[in-house]
């Protein structure tokens, strides 16, 4: 049978329908399609896909199981390497990782590895009934700071080895960026909750409403008897552009906009937490967070949503599928454009006019690409005289985050780099003995899977350090 040159298409909600609801966009393969897609895998000898995966999932082996419709078997192979398969199958940028290395991809479209991973994980979550087996306790205790992808991964790996693990979460729900940042339509919250439940079943203790650096310090965690601490506190502080008008009402950081909608459920009419809905929205930035914010604004009822990004589509860092979905839904891309000022309402006659201080528009300037900069990407430069205004009601700044200083400020001897990222060795060890770190707290804003990789590396190092004790 000749190989289908194209990936089996992912069924999705129609764009005109999904633009008005928060249900998941991608609906997942059926069993038949999953098997057919698995059969596109050549099972080549050199297995380049594995090296493209930050957690080195044994991809050809799990796909081999799927060819035989042994989905539980496939899931078991994935879960040897990944603690959050249902999450990664949905949010990993496969096109720049495993699938970018696929041998089939040289001539045709690569195997839909991410879609197969998602199928195996969903199949397991629907069918598996037995609780995971709790390993024999090994007598060691480890504290994890933050319940995002790096923390949950580190916790899962250690719990499977018999460590007593406590995860401290500052917010009221576990999951970190998976619950406050990534929207329901891309990653349903029930999936994150299910992964957290699996960890709990393994014996992981999750303490919400504890801010490490405030409620307890890292040093106090050692006083409480923990022998190692992993810091996966994420990249907390939102960046703004420092242009005039960023304090007008209706200007949000992407963190705030998404947290209101996702974690606080402001998209529901019965929620207690407000969010500005309707009107026109502009989102500044070109990453996954920008796509999430734009598509959230649309679903909240915006009459028009614009992305403003200073480079071109080629440099736009968001996951390809999200960009395609956003375009299909009618999000308008203003590329090679940069904001210079946010405009607000001011009635000079009446200082009590309730419209005062609300956003009315954004002034932008066109850009062109010049010489490559330090990152190797061509630097965008302003085109003089090309300024123009867009009339909008809401502005969302999705231009990245910086690491949160709460832990650095309260942990003596913890070294950070110029940008505030915690300095670690290859094993994730910080400048403090028995204190490890990983994820965005180290790297600044990056991907879910690279954070998971860091959590995994640290778990291995912690095990090596403590097992002999």
């Amino acid at each position: 049978m000749p190989i289908d040159p194209k990936k089996h298409e992912m069924p999705t909600q129609a764009p005109e329908v999904r633009a008005h609801n928060f249900n998941e966009v991608a609906l997942g393969y059926t069993e038949e399609v999953a098997v057919a897609e698995a059969n596109r895998c050549l099972n080549c000898k050199n297995r380049p896909c594995v090296s493209g995966c930050p957690v080195n999932i044994n991809i050809p082996d799990f796909i081999a199981r799927m060819k035989e419709a042994d989905f539980e078997g496939a899931y078991r192979i994935i879960s040897e390497s990944s603690s959050l398969p249902a999450v990664c199958g949905r949010v990993c940028p496969q096109e720049s990782q495993c699938e970018s290395k696929c041998t089939l991809g040289i001539k045709f479209e690569p195997v839909g590895i991410g879609r197969l991973e998602r199928f195996a994980a969903d199949y397991h979550n629907e069918h598996a009934e037995e609780a995971p087996i709790r390993p024999e306790p090994n007598g060691h205790r480890v504290a994890i700071v933050g319940s995002g992808p790096s923390g949950l991964t580190c916790a899962g790996d250690l719990a499977k080895k018999g460590y007593a693990v406590t995860v401290y979460e500052a917010l009221h729900t576990a999951g970190g960026v998976l619950v406050y940042g990534i929207p329901e339509f891309r990653l349903p919250k029930r999936i994150v909750a299910k992964e957290v439940e699996t960890l709990k079943a393994l014996g992981v203790d999750i303490e919400t409403n504890v801010v490490i650096g405030k409620t307890l310090t890292v040093d106090e965690l050692f006083d409480l008897g923990f022998e190692a601490v992993f810091i996966g506190s994420g990249a907390g502080l939102p960046n703004f552009m420092n242009i005039p008008g960023e304090s007008f009402k209706g200007v949000y950081s992407a963190n705030e906009f998404l947290t209101r909608s996702n974690l606080m459920k402001a998209y529901r009419d019965d929620a207690d937490t407000p969010i500005q809905k309707g009107g026109k929205t502009v989102v500044v930035g070109g990453g996954n967070v920008a796509m999430d914010a734009a598509r959230t604004a649309l679903r909240l009822g915006a009459e028009g949503v614009y992305i403003i990004y200073r480079r071109s589509m080629e440099e736009l860092p968001a996951r390809r599928e999200e960009v395609e979905h956003a375009e299909e839904e009618g999000i308008e891309f203003n590329l090679l454009t940069n904001p210079v000022e946010i405009l607000g309402f001011n009635n000079p006659e009446d200082p009590r006019d309730p419209r005062n201080g609300f956003v009315t528009g954004i002034r932008c300037i066109r850009m062109e690409l010049g010489e490559p900069d330090a990152s190797g990407r061509r630097r965008p430069v302003e085109i003089p005289g090309s300024e123009f205004e867009l009339h909008v009601d809401t502005v969302v700044m999705a231009i990245g985050t910086s690491p949160n200083p709460l832990i650095k400020n309260t942990t003596k001897g913890l070294e950070v780099n110029r940008r505030g990222g915690i300095i670690v060795t290859e094993d994730g060890l910080t400048s403090r003995e028995h204190v490890y770190a990983g994820g965005d707290a180290v790297t600044g804003a990056a991907t879910v899977i690279s954070a998971m990789g860091a959590g995994k590396t640290a778990a291995k190092a912690i095990d090596e350090a403590l097992a002999g004790k």
Binding site: L171, H172, T215, E246, S247, S253, R260, M264, P354, G357
Partner: protein, 283 residues
Amino acid sequence: MYEIIRKRELNPTVTEMHILAPLVAKKAKPGQFIILRVDEEGERIPLTVAGTDPEKGTVRIIFQIVGATTAKLNHKNAGEFIQDFVGPLGEATKTEGVKKVCIVGGGVGCAIALPVAEEFHRLGAEVVSIIGFRSQDLLILEDEFKACSDRLIVMTDDGSYARQGNVTVPLKEMLEGGERFDEVITIGPLIMMKFVVAAVKPFGIPCTVSMNPIMIDGTGMCGGCRLTLLKEDGTRVTKFACVDGPDFNGYEVDFDEAMSRGRMYMHFEKRAYTEACNLFART
């Protein structure tokens, strides 16, 4: 879940609660705040800590019933639980080197000012407190302030109790009469703090204000609580009240912007409050 150990009505619109939260009680210092959620569907609201009892593990909060969430909170009684309670957040009020301080509190802001006054008193500083209310029926914590102040001046806007006028009247009198403080600390409505700062400014006395903007996480993550400081050299600096504050140099705060931002969700809040009140009226 966090148990409400005690509840007391301070006046018809202001309630005091003691919440069992041992980790917070052990750590919280005057000037810091907590964030709570009343129930599973509730919003996160910041409230400044109005005192702690580390031995009993309780944290005192005092809140004014201004919206849906505070109305729901007020509906809970001792022995009942609130969903989430996290803290202490923000930086504590700085007390070093202050030997004589004037604490100026307005309305429910007095609840936040009290532990600050108590702390200075405990440290041996001379404390002069000025507390102001719209009228006698809104007066709170007079006895507590008396106990920790070397001098206490009570003001009501309508003259229904003590002296008539707003808090800046006695403050100006003292300053113009030659009295000096190492610091003036003011906590209350933004408009009051703005006028206190203006009153103190000609005398060159450091003036600290406590900001309480709209927040979600309280750990610096959302930036919703941002405010602008106008530096002497003319630059505008953005700060996050939750991690950089809540105390700021009053001379630098852009109060007009803060007041505008505080009204962002006014319409939403009015509607939510009406709905909450209707809900309670039915039950």
